[in-house]
């Protein structure tokens, strides 16, 4: 059981670091989405199904869509 914990924690931390420190905006939005997926898994492991569903749908789903739409409105083609 401990390994799954470790895998989720490392995955989330790594993707969040990419999201904050990567160069391109679209690549860091995608990294943020992956971090949200990792976060959803963490909430699942923490016995919080409601929060996992909310995190998956809102942070992984809608936030990423909003970011990409905003970048699209700014005319940025995935620099």
């Amino acid at each position: 059981m401990g390994y799954i914990y470790l895998a989720v924690v490392l995955f989330t931390g790594f993707t969040a670091a990419i999201a904050v420190f990567s160069r391109g905006r679209v690549s860091s939005v995608v990294a943020l989405a992956l971090a949200s997926v990792g976060l959803t898994a963490s909430f699942y492991l923490l016995q919080a199904p409601d929060v996992a569903m909310a995190e998956a749908v809102i942070s992984a789903g809608l936030s990423t869509a909003l970011f990409l739409f905003a970048l699209r409105k700014m005319g940025i083609r995935g620099d």
Partner: protein, 119 residues
């Protein structure tokens, strides 16, 4: 049993988010760092409510309802985080609205250039 548990991850995310906000100059990247910061705080709240070896606070069966106090995780932090995640999204929508409009008016979303342009 695992030293690297969710407290460590949430504090790592909080630190990462704070650093991202201070170091980045591009407003969209600052918004991303803010989302990471908020995720860190949300994860911390839920992991404060977690109790090892207990199950989610859904009392689906009769006997679980009878003796649930010792078997179930704390529901209150989950309720708080449910609200906090949606607040975070509300803030993000307003922030991205500002970013788009800032880009349209200044041609860039670089916060540090904002000073001399608007000055």
């Amino acid at each position: 049993m695992n030293a690297l548990d969710f407290y460590a991850l949430s504090v790592f995310l909080i630190g990462l988010g704070l650093m991202g906000v201070f170091l980045n100059r591009d407003f969209v990247k600052i918004l991303i760092s803010l989302s990471v910061l908020e995720s860190g705080v949300n994860l911390l709240i839920v992991s404060i409510g977690y109790v090892r070896g207990r199950i989610a606070p859904i009392l689906f069966s009769k006997e679980l309802q009878a003796s649930a106090v010792g078997k179930v995780v704390d529901p209150v932090p989950q309720a708080l985080v449910l609200t906090a995640i949606v607040i975070g999204l509300g803030l993000l929508a307003v922030g991205l609205g500002m970013a788009v409009w800032m880009h349209r008016r200044f041609g860039t979303t670089d916060v540090s250039e904002l000073k001399d342009l608007a000055g």
